[in-house]
């Protein structure tokens, strides 16, 4: 103890008293005992870390039942005065199992703490607070910092994948700064509004993609009604709560993490080379009785590669993408504090480069994407008086990003669609705009041209988030009562600039006077355009600011074996969305929660939210969302012996109502659906002189208000259990849930006689259901056979399936055409039955005729479809539900790893099931418009020879310039639908922790070196594209990237 704590005077005594008061968070009502019991025995000891035997500083040592305590010093040593031999010392440290020791006659108590492998004492972040996992009755999954940091990802959302049950994170693209995953909690339950969950950062709805993973302490996913009801109109899609790290009392702990990684584009389309392209393009021409496009001479050149200008063979993937591009991420954080002031300060840097090969054709324009982000956070906690503590969270993220002016989508589309014959990328250092021969096979804007001419689009974003919260304990008034408040102000600003410039470009022409072959392959270079000045595009700005306040009364008490806690909380939020020129979005709500448990055995929670938003009509703005949950910990019962096999078994269930108002703030739908709206109307001209005709001002009906507009309601049920076995080595948690979503905002089947159907706003008529189950399993053990080998295995699996119950669908002729009764987002299409293989099949007068087949009828190699209604005609009436929606029904992950003598190895596999995708455009059609690229997969096309030889056939007969609305083979059908399920080695890591003995002389507390990777291997049936590609994409998508990363973490 430091000098100032010695009891020299009355004043010092008071000082100590104050200090102890501040220290006491829960047990301060016991203070009188402190005075009553004079210290009698002094106990000393050393606490070590069981995993490596090193002394462990910062362990709390408290006399059980009092607030008297100390912490271990840098050498793991402590000294404490205890009142009696009966006293029990409680040793706690974050991340370690707590230990108890009765003093008895000992004066030296040494012990080692083991890493906390069990989760019972864990505190889980819940809505507006936290609860012990042991007494939790809701369905909540969470993941901690250490696990999140294993994935070298740039966007926080992508680190969630595979780590928890009940959350689906789909990453559609790998573009720097644009690679956030789409999140869903327990799948999709609505077809009207957004199905995205509410995401809170430190209790406030905020942007989260820009949060540095190093700042995150835990992420909780609240899944059932019990966990989410308090969020009322915003909670129905589940809630994700991101909680940032806070300082712990102790000496400054400096932690430096540095990551150097490489991104490597994966699952790129495999395109035909020039020779194959020319050969197959000729075949396609032959199939439509057109003249072959390429002569034998051309084909020979493509084979021999001896005329690189006029008979080029460009691998566009090779030409366009760098194989490896850097991605660096660094973080420095310092945390620590005294008893009454604690801090966590973090600085982060993310630097991610794009994958385009841009060359050096101009100086000032780089269209290659990049994303650089700087994060600074300062989380401060102050205990100002014994009853009053204050926390301040400040964070700022500043991002600078750069994109190709044409947009990566368009650019990738061009790259994908360009044939290998379209002409060289550059010639003698200049970009080639066009090559004479290639004219027919080049696209109007070759990729490099497109990349340069459209310049770049740069964004500067700053996102400032601040909140201040205070807690005032009112124990003096009523024991266990406290009031707390929070105010937050966030400010976001974005500036976008675009610039472009013409590079020097040439066109290559044939030499008409060439006499010899060698002359003929040398082009005449014609300047297409000279390098031009930089052209400034539009600069745009957007900004928003959010203000949030909450005020709460909390009460908790324990009367004998009855633990009761209660919360009453009011919130108000206002979001100004400056860029939209809109009125601010406002929310206001009251939250109530009562939890009760008896002997930690019988658990009951009541949660209720009463909240509203200005998006609804007067008197209909507020809704009440109650939920109830019960839990029963069987292992606390005397008749179920708690033994080393069965350590914990809890059954829990919940039932409640939550709302979703996400549809109503959607700009496409418009705000204030309840109001009628008139707006400026059309023109009509009056007068007699043609040149001076004048229109009169007019006003027109724009929307018809729907005064009944309300939020979606979700009636959710959940039943689950948590089971811990074998000395807490194995834990299993499983949940079964169902949900009925009602009041889904959906458009009505309005007849034309009403006027323009678009006048009518949507109404709350839709109904959908969702059900599913999920489980999480984890196993930890130490293998004594191999000394000190700790290993762990984890698995999670989630399934959810929804169904449209009602959507005021137009009457259909055939029952199978109804969307109602199917899954949300269920694809429809013709059912393909393979190919017509013989002329006899095609000539069969009884075969169904497709309305898309040519007048001359089908030929062998065309796709055969099922005539669902048996009318002899294949048309849109034969479309049935095919495959699965684009959001997977099944998501799962399994991971495992071990630690041994400082080595750590871990892997995470992750996958999805029951999901489909459908590619269109250049991703589907070879030789699009007769001249675009074709994939290698077309080699498995139908030809009479290949059919006769029994070779695998996965593609219909080739034709040039097919259309997916007019050509029989390319009509929307199950043939082109792909099973998009996949399994990935999402993440693997090998790390080495240097022993502290080695490090101690260097003044380093710990040093961890690691090598890890993301998206390392993918097993999928989707060819040429990443399986997570969005359905109905034409392939114009920035590729997914694999990341190889090395890094180090040093702490002082």
């Amino acid at each position: 103890m430091s000098k100032s704590f010695k009891l020299n005077s009355i004043a010092d005594k008071t000082k100590l008293l104050r200090f102890v008061l501040v220290l006491s968070l829960i047990f301060n009502f016991l203070l009188p005992h402190v005075f009553a019991a004079e210290p009698k025995i002094t106990v000393i000891g050393t606490v070590t870390d069981a995993s490596n035997g090193e002394p462990y500083p910062g362990v709390n040592v408290i006399i059980e039942g009092t607030s008297i305590g100390t912490i271990t010093d840098i050498n793991g040593k402590y000294t404490i005065n205890v009142p009696s031999k009966q006293s029990v010392l409680l040793f706690t440290a974050i991340g370690f199992q707590k230990e108890k020791r009765q003093v008895n006659n000992q004066t030296i108590i040494n012990l080692s703490l083991s890493a906390d492998v069990q989760t019972l004492d864990e505190v889980v972040v819940v809505a507006y607070g936290s609860q012990k996992k042991e007494t939790l009755t809701g369905a909540i999954a969470n993941v901690k910092s250490a696990e999140l940091l294993r994935a070298p990802v740039s966007n926080l959302t992508n680190s969630l994948v595979g780590r928890m049950s009940g959350i689906t994170a789909i990453q559609r693209t790998g573009e720097p700064g644009g690679d956030a995953a789409q999140l869903y909690v327990r799948g999709v339950s609505t077809f009207g509004g957004s199905a995205a969950p509410l995401v809170l950062v430190d209790g406030i709805e905020r942007s989260y993609g820009d949060v540095d993973v190093n700042e995150v302490e835990t992420i909780s996913v609240l899944k059932d009604a019990s966990a989410t009801a308090v969020f009322g109109v915003r909670g129905a899609n589940g809630v994700v709560i991101i909680t940032t790290k806070r300082g712990q009392e102790g000496k400054p702990k400096v932690s430096l993490t540095t990551n150097f990684g490489y991104q490597n584009p994966i699952n790129l389309p495999k395109l035909l080379n020039a020779y194959d392209y020319a050969t197959l393009r000729n075949e396609a021409a032959k199939n439509v009785a057109a003249t072959p496009v390429f002569s034998a001479y051309d084909i020979e050149r493509y084979l021999k590669h001896d005329d690189p200008v006029f008979h080029p063979d460009i691998d566009w993937m090779e030409e366009s993408f760098r194989k490896y591009t850097p991605q660096n991420q660094h973080n420095l954080n310092v945390s620590g504090g005294t008893k009454n002031a604690r801090y966590f300060v973090s600085m982060g840097l993310l630097d991610q480069d794009g994958i385009f090969k841009v060359g050096n054709f101009t100086n000032d324009i780089s269209p290659n994407p990049y994303y650089k982000r700087y994060n600074i956070r300062g989380n401060l906690d102050f205990d100002l008086t014994k009853n009053f503590s204050l926390s301040i969270n400040n964070s700022i993220s500043i991002a600078k990003s750069n994109y190709a002016g044409s947009g990566s989508g368009a650019l990738l589309g061009q790259i994908l669609g360009t044939s290998p014959l379209s002409g060289n990328v550059s010639y003698n250092g200049a970009i080639v705009r066009e090559t004479e021969f290639a004219k027919d096979f080049s696209i109007t804007n070759p990729p490099l041209y497109q990349l340069y001419v459209n310049g770049y689009n740069q964004h500067y974003e700053s996102n400032f988030k601040m909140d201040v919260s205070g807690v005032y304990k009112l124990d003096d008034l009523i024991k266990g009562l406290r009031v707390r408040g929070k105010f937050a102000y966030d400010n976001y600003y974005k500036m976008s600039t675009s610039r472009s410039k013409n590079p020097y470009m040439v066109t290559l022409r044939r030499n008409p006077n060439a006499k010899t072959f060698n002359d003929s392959i040398v082009p005449i270079v014609v300047v297409d355009r000279f390098e031009g000045p930089v052209t400034a595009g539009a600069d745009t700005y957007s900004k928003n600011r959010r203000m949030y306040g909450e005020l709460a009364l909390e009460y908790s008490t324990k009367i004998e074996e009855h633990s009761i806690s209660a919360l009453a909380l009011g919130t108000a939020e206002r979001l100004y969305n400056g860029s939209d020129g809109q009125l601010p979005f406002n929310y206001m709500g009251l939250v109530g929660r009562v939890t009760y448990n008896y002997k930690n055995k019988y658990l009951a929670d009541v949660n209720a939210g009463y909240n509203g938003s200005e998006n609804f009509y007067k008197n209909k703005q507020f809704g009440f969302f109650p939920s109830f949950s019960l839990g029963y910990v069987l292992t606390e019962e005397s008749f179920i012996p708690k033994n080393e096999y069965l350590t914990h078994l809890k059954i829990r269930g919940s039932y409640g109502l939550v709302g979703n108002d996400k549809a109503y703030s959607d700009r496409n739908l418009g705000r204030f659906l309840f109001s009628d709206g008139f707006t400026g109307g059309g023109s009509y001209y009056f007068g007699t002189t043609p040149t001076t005709l004048a229109t009169q001002a007019s006003i027109r009906e724009n929307t018809l208000g729907n005064r009944d507009v309300t939020w979606e309601t979700a009636l959710k049920q959940n039943i689950g259990f948590d089971l811990h076995l074998f000395k807490e080595k194995l834990s299993l948690s499983a949940d079964l849930f169902s949900e009925k979503r009602d009041n889904i905002l959906w458009s009505l089947n309005i007849p034309i006689s009403f006027g323009k159907p678009s006048l009518v706003n949507k109404y709350n008529i839709g109904k959908a259901s969702n059900y599913g189950y999920e489980f999480e399993l984890s196993f930890n053990d130490r293998l004594n056979a191999i000394k000190g080998l700790n290993y762990w295995l984890k698995a999670n699996y989630s399934f959810s399936e929804n169904k449209i119950i009602y959507m005021d669908e137009s009457p259909q002729i055939y029952d199978y055409q109804y969307r109602t009764g199917n899954r949300i987002g269920q694809p429809f299409g013709l059912q393909a039955l393979g190919f017509y293989n013989t002329p006899e099949e095609c000539a069969d007068p009884n075969r169904p005729k497709s309305i898309w087949e040519p007048p001359t009828g089908v030929v062998p190699g065309n796709i055969k479809y099922k005539d669902q209604n048996g009318d002899g005609i294949i048309n849109t009436y034969d479309e049935v539900a095919i495959g699965y929606p684009n959001v997977p029904l099944v998501v799962y992950g399994f991971s495992g790893g071990f630690e041994w003598k400082g080595f750590e190895i871990s892997v995470l596999f992750q996958g999805t099931g029951m999901v489909s995708t459908y590619l269109i455009g250049d991703a589907q059609i070879p030789f699009g418009a007769g001249k675009k690229s074709a994939m290698e997969s077309v080699k498995e096309r139908w030809t009479p020879e290949r059919y006769a030889a029994g070779e695998p056939i996965t593609f219909p007969r080739l034709i040039p310039g097919a259309s997916n609305t007019a050509d029989n083979d390319y009509i929307n059908s199950s043939f082109w639908q792909k099973d998009a399920s996949y399994l990935r080695l999402k993440n693997a890591e090998v790390a080495y922790n240097f022993s502290s003995k080695l490090l101690k002389p260097l003044q380093i507390k710990s040093l961890r070196l690691f090598v890890n990777g993301q998206n390392l291997f993918t097993w999928s049936k989707v060819k040429n594209f990443d399986p997570e590609i969005a359905a109905n994409s034409g392939g114009g998508i920035y590729p997914m990237v694999r990341v190889f990363n090395v890094g180090a973490n040093i702490s002082f």
């Binding site: 059309g682 009509y684 007019s698 009906e701 009944d708 006027g755 109404y763 009457p811």
Partner: protein, 643 residues
């Protein structure tokens, strides 16, 4: 002390309650953020805005002004005049209208008539009629709102609404009627919220639909104004009301509808597409109504434009192409949904064969139509061309035909515009043409004076030029408006109706002669072959009137509906059957066109040949249009037979 603490808790509790009870402020939508129906009709100024909105949405517009540029573009059919879907013309270079003639027209590809736009217009009218009584009488800076003026405005709105229903009934037969402003009502059915429209969304009988139009007209006509100030010119006059009623009654009397046998069997729903009986009196009502309009027109100085300085052909040309010319007093109502068609407008791009900067389409006037309709001006005998002949013969026959031919068609040897300014771009007297150079199978080559001709392809020969031939060649601004009611129609209407009830009535001849006189033809009188053969013979006179109508109202969206209501669409060569083209070619290697001298060497070196161009498909279900399939799918509308 304890009291103070309790007070503290109480204050905190109270502040929380207060913070949520001031929701009325926090969550309130600002009042000024929306305009409601009440704020529109609570003062005359705003009410007039709603009134003008009815004008801007109840539009009948047959000109091309851009298919994809907005809600209110009614362009005949896609980027083409409606003439192309009947025997009047053929589009060259734009296949969009072909679907109406090649048999692929169906319930999902109809792009000629936007029923959604029309219903929006009707709804605006109903909204106006239902709410206008809320508007207090007052004099404001812009309007003197009195009961009389209100009645007049309501009357105009009713005519506009009736006009929209007329546009529907002639295409679809009976349609749903918006008798009051429909609303959405939510009903609980079991555990479902079912949204219903509180109106009958099904089709009404053809008779109810026609009666509704007539009722609107009759209610409105007494309140309509006979004339307007220059600034208000363009509003619905009493004449427009009378004209709509007259035309509607003529349609009701016509064979397609005035029958107990629909054009196709329609299981139990005949009343949707025919009137259920033949009633001779319907012709009488039509004749009376048309006579009433003609009397009104003569009382208010409406007459056909016949200017000696222009001559007969150009008088007719100005009457349809320059509606706001001071000389033009024959337009009763025209479409004014645009000030004028701007430079580069679709009208010029898609139709003008010599539009010099862009555009790639043109419309031909069918050679069959010319031979069938445009008789020799002096002999009143058909203009018959031999299947093959010399260009000179062709030119001679064209020049001798009804002068209205040269006002609508531009053919080799004619001027694109007599007094317009297109000459500078190639419309000289011996105009441009597409010529097969080097013989009958030679290359199709654009020859002629001035800029590059567009409209490559066949059938070439006579090009359509009505409406656009007076376009300013420098700015390409087209000052033409769509004639909705042009006086000439009603002379023909009256004659047609009267012939059905009283074929010897002298008014038939009197009225037809008004048309013929302006056209530069001799009067019908004893000794004239038409008079001699037709007068008093109901059938022959009917045929003559039909032919006269085909010429006088060429291109004004009458023909496609006239041939339907007359029930002659199924006759070969009208809507279906073989259609011919005319090909011009150089006889020999001696160049007809001397490019260096920029002149024609010898007209006789060119021949023409008329040969089959295409076979058009007509099916009787086309007598009425299909409702859009999406609408039928909604379950309210019964589709017309055969679709």
């Amino acid at each position: 002390m304890k009291f103070l603490k309790l007070t503290g808790v109480f204050v905190i509790g109270l502040s929380m309650i207060i913070s949520t009870s001031c929701v009325s402020d926090f969550l309130e939508q600002p009042l000024d953020s929306v305009i409601t129906v009440d704020s529109v009709f609570n003062n005359p100024d705003n009410a007039m805005k709603a009134f003008y909105q009815v004008y801007s949405t109840c539009v009948v517009n047959g000109l091309i002004n851009g298919y994809t540029t907005g809600d209110w573009n009614d362009s005949g059919c896609r980027d083409a005049m409606l003439s192309n879907v009947c025997d009047e013309g053929t589009m060259i270079g734009n296949n969009a209208p072909k679907k109406y003639t090649n048999g692929t027209w169906n319930a999902t590809n109809q792009d000629e008539f936007d029923i959604y736009r029309v219903m929006a217009g009707i709804r605006n009218a109903v909204l106006y009629v239902e709410n206008i009584d809320k508007t207090p009488y007052a004099k404001t800076a812009t309007v003197d709102w009195t009961e009389q003026y209100k009645n007049q405005c309501v009357a105009e709105v009713k005519i506009l609404r009736a006009l929209m229903y007329f546009e529907m009934v002639k295409r679809y037969g009976g349609v749903p009627l918006m008798t009051k402003l429909p609303k959405i009502v939510i009903a609980k059915e079991g555990d479902k919220n079912i949204a219903k429209v509180d109106m009958d969304g099904t089709r009404r009988s053809l008779k109810s639909t026609f009666d509704y139009i007539i009722k609107d007209c009759e209610e409105a006509i007494p309140y309509l104004s006979n004339s307007f100030s220059a600034a208000e010119s363009g509003r619905i006059s009493k004449g427009a009301g009378l004209a709509l009623k007259a035309r509607t009654l003529l349609y009701m009397a016509s064979p397609l509808f005035n029958t107990d046998t629909p054009y196709l069997p329609f299981d139990g729903a005949d009343s949707l597409i025919c009137l259920g009986n033949y009633d001779q009196n319907r012709w009488q009502l039509a004749a009376d109504a048309n006579r009433e309009l003609l009397e009104w027109a003569s009382a208010f100085d409406y007459k056909l434009l016949s200017d000696p300085a222009l001559g007969p052909g150009e008088s007719y040309n100005y009457a349809t192409g320059l509606q706001l010319d001071v000389r033009n007093k024959e337009t009763i109502l025209m479409d004014r949904s645009h000030t004028r068609l701007t430079a580069g407008c679709m009208m010029a791009r898609m139709l003008c064969p010599i539009w010099y900067s862009w555009g790639n389409c043109a419309q031909s006037v069918n050679i069959d139509y010319i031979q069938k309709m445009y008789y020799n001006a002096t002999t009143d005998q058909p203009t018959t061309l031999a299947a093959e002949g010399k260009l000179t013969e062709f030119i001679t026959k064209m020049k001798a035909a009804d002068p209205r031919l040269e006002a609508v068609a531009w053919f080799p040897g004619s001027a694109y515009s007599k007094n317009g300014t297109w000459t500078a771009a190639g419309g000289g007297e011996v105009g441009k043409m597409y010529l097969r150079v080097g013989g009958y199978n030679g290359t199709l080559t654009n020859v002629g004076n001035g800029g590059t001709g567009v409209g490559m392809g066949e059938p070439a020969g006579p090009y359509f030029k009505k409406f656009i031939n007076l376009t300013n060649a420098t700015t390409a601004v087209t000052e033409c408006w769509w004639p909705i009611f042009r006086l000439a129609e009603f002379y023909l209407n009256y004659a047609e109706a009267l012939n059905e009830v009283n074929p010897t009535h002298p008014d038939i001849i009197t009225n037809l002669n008004i048309i013929r006189k302006r056209a530069g033809l001799q009067d019908l009188k004893l000794g004239n072959p038409v008079y001699d053969q037709c007068f008093g013979n109901k059938d022959k006179m009917r045929s003559y009137i039909q032919r006269e109508r085909a010429i006088e109202l060429y291109g004004e969206e009458h023909r496609p509906f006239d041939v339907r209501r007359w029930k002659i669409a199924s006759q070969p060569g009208v809507m279906g059957g073989d259609f011919n083209k005319i090909v011009f070619y150089e006889n020999s290697t001696t160049k007809y066109w001397d490019a260096s001298a920029k002149r024609y060497n010898n007209t006789d070196l060119v021949s023409y040949k008329i040969e089959k161009y295409e076979t058009r498909v007509w099916k009787d279900n086309m007598y009425l249009y299909p409702f859009p399939q999406g609408e039928v799918n909604k379950g309210f509308i019964k589709q017309n037979p055969g679709w």
